[in-house]
């Protein structure tokens, strides 16, 4: 009798657990559809031939009678500056990553490890800098960039992007350096290394993951920018990929949707993958120190 009751209770419980599980999956599915639809739509549009794309009778969510085409991708690569923009993006990215590492790694180390006057207020100050919106800075930066002769050149972005990558990555690096056990560094110094020697031989090698993460973020943050890239560069051959795709594939009021979506897909998905892999670090970075 008691065993039967217990069995029934157990079954009830497991049924409730199952129902909860199904509910969670259903919820996640709804979110996934809403979140993923635009990217799916990019994909369908990028490979669907125009006669099907602009046919109101065709089922829009999949390919139709004319099948799949590469003509939009071909147009993108052969008839637009897409490869140039991709190359420009790469140049900007590499330069921004190098500059960011050069400035943020020493600063991050000092703020995390060294005691000196003003260290704490500097840490908060650097984080606040990250919150200074680009909207406030882009107009004066136009003047500054024209003055130093970089207006309408890729160089303008190489100068401008570190204004937000350096504060953010300094903050991130400081977090990483805090995780390197102090004793290792001390041991090296007791053994006669200078502090700089200890940094070079012991701390930096242990922080390579951190530096790699910072590099990825300097890149993805640069890719997220639109306002600087739109404002500082107007010539087609100097554009980066995001601005190129959304401004050059529209002639008058004709939108080349197939190629536009192909460009968005090719430029966007790699960034999304990289970003997702490092998102936890990103969150740890902006909330850094808020929760111990």
């Amino acid at each position: 009798m008691a065993a039967a009751a217990a069995y029934a209770a157990e079954r009830r419980q497991s049924r409730r657990a199952l129902r909860k599980k199904l509910l969670v999956y259903a919820g996640l599915c709804v979110y996934a559809v809403v979140a993923g639809l635009p990217v799916y739509w990019m994909f369908i549009t990028a490979f669907k031939p125009n006669p099907d794309l602009y046919n109101l009778k065709a089922f829009p969510l999949f390919f139709n009678e004319h099948g799949v085409t590469l003509e939009h991708v071909a147009l993108l690569f052969n008839k637009t500056g897409f490869t140039t923009w991709a190359g420009n993006t790469l140049i900007v990215a590499v330069a921004v990553v190098l500059i960011t590492l050069l400035f943020a790694v020493p600063a991050g180390y000092a703020l995390a490890r060294l005691r000196f006057r003003g260290a704490e207020s500097l840490t908060i100050g650097i984080f606040m800098t990250y919150l200074v919106p680009t909207t406030l800075l882009f107009l004066p930066l136009v003047k500054i960039i024209s003055t130093i002769g970089l207006f309408d050149k890729l160089g303008s972005l190489i100068v401008a992007y570190p204004t937000f990558t350096i504060p953010f990555c300094t903050w991130l690096m400081a977090g990483f350096f805090k995780t390197v056990p102090f004793e290792i560094e001390e041991a090296a110094m007791v053994d006669g290394c200078s502090r700089l020697g200890a940094i070079a031989r012991v701390v930096l090698p242990l922080s390579l993951t951190g530096m790699f993460t910072v590099a990825i973020f300097a890149f993805t943050l640069s890719m997220q920018d639109f306002i600087y890239a739109l404002t500082f560069v107007t010539s087609s051959d100097q554009k980066v990929i995001t601005v190129g795709v959304v401004t050059e594939l529209i002639r008058g009021d004709v939108f080349f949707w197939g190629s536009l979506m192909a460009g968005a897909l090719i430029a966007g998905v790699p960034v999304a993958i990289l970003y997702t892999f490092f998102l936890d670090r990103f969150v740890a970075g902006i909330t850094g120190g808020a929760v111990k």
Binding site: Y31, P38, L137, P167, V291
Partner: protein, 311 residues
């Protein structure tokens, strides 16, 4: 380890014979921080000051130099322009409404992801796409999704029986504003969820169990235990998100360009229109600068609300 130590031991004499002044923390610290601070001072601090100067000048994009001092003329002109007031109203509406929905959708999502069922990682990748895809690329995709003729949004709406004719999403002022807010919410809710999730996983299970034993239901546990405990993380996340919403121009620029008839501008897109497209750099700077008091209020209120909860 032993190898490291002995390898370093060899260096002992060399470093003892030349005691570096750089080794002192009070010297090395500032030396290492200086380049970053200098960079920030020149390219964030100086432009910031310059923005204030430009806002009281008649500087324009075409001519070099910083223009003449014109006092508060730019601000007066702004306050007299209807578009400015529309943009201000839209900015506040856009920020408040999207904050509300991002918070709501993000909270639910955080709970779903927190269940950590199988395939959560796959779901996570797809659900994070709005946040991880560069905003310019997703905004232009939404423009295509809201197309007057081939809108997939309308097609799905009709297929589900939610709508019966085709709304002109970007061509009608109210609908255009709704679309802009929707895209901002779409872009931001995964981030709210991720921030909340990061906080939730940082709370020890024992504390939640203790509250449970004390008779606290799920809602009470969330409000009285989880939220106060993760208040600092929520503060930074909310702040980051609000600053982003208040100052973003990408969605408006790519979806509607401020149209129809300048009804959907926000301060940021209006600043771009005035400062770059019309070339009145000074007046554009004045527009952007007016975001500052709003930002200050937002920071202050967020800080206070979360402080009060944190008893």
């Amino acid at each position: 380890m032993a190898e490291t130590v002995s390898a370093l031991g060899v260096r002992r004499r060399a470093s003892r014979s030349s005691p570096l002044r750089l080794d002192r923390q009070s010297v090395l610290g500032p030396v290492l921080v200086a380049p970053a601070i200098l960079f920030i001072a020149v390219l964030v601090g100086y432009p910031f000051v310059l923005a204030i100067y430009l806002s009281v000048s008649d500087a324009d994009v075409a001519t070099s130099g910083l223009g003449r001092f014109v006092g508060l003329q730019n601000f007066v002109a702004l306050f007299e322009a209807d578009v400015f007031w529309t943009a201000l109203r839209n900015t506040l509406l856009f920020t408040a409404v999207s904050w509300l929905f991002k918070g709501l959708l993000g909270t639910i999502l955080a709970f779903l992801l927190n269940e950590n069922l199988r395939f959560t990682r796959v779901f996570r990748f797809v659900i994070l796409l709005p946040w991880t895809i560069p905003i310019a690329l997703s905004s232009i995709t939404w423009k295509w999704m809201f197309d007057t003729q081939y809108s997939i949004v309308n097609w799905i709406g009709r297929a589900l029986g939610l709508i019966h004719e085709n709304p002109n999403w970007l061509g009608e002022p109210t609908l255009a504003m709704i679309s802009i807010i929707a895209v901002n919410v779409w872009r931001g809710f995964p981030f709210s969820a991720v921030i909340l999730l990061a906080g939730m996983t940082s709370i020890p299970q024992e504390i939640l169990d203790a509250a449970h034993v004390d008779g606290a239901g799920p809602v009470t546990r969330f409000r009285k235990v989880v939220v106060p405990m993760i208040a600092p993380i929520l503060f930074v996340g909310t702040l980051y998100d609000l600053v982003f919403s208040l100052t973003d121009m990408t969605v408006v620029y790519l979806l509607t360009l401020g149209g129809p008839a300048n009804t959907t501008h926000v301060l940021a897109s209006f600043a771009y229109l005035v400062g770059i497209q019309s070339g009145a750099l000074g007046r554009g700077a004045a527009t952007a600068l007016l975001l500052l008091p709003i930002l200050a209020v937002v920071v202050f209120v967020t800080l206070r609300t979360l402080r009060r909860r944190d008893i």
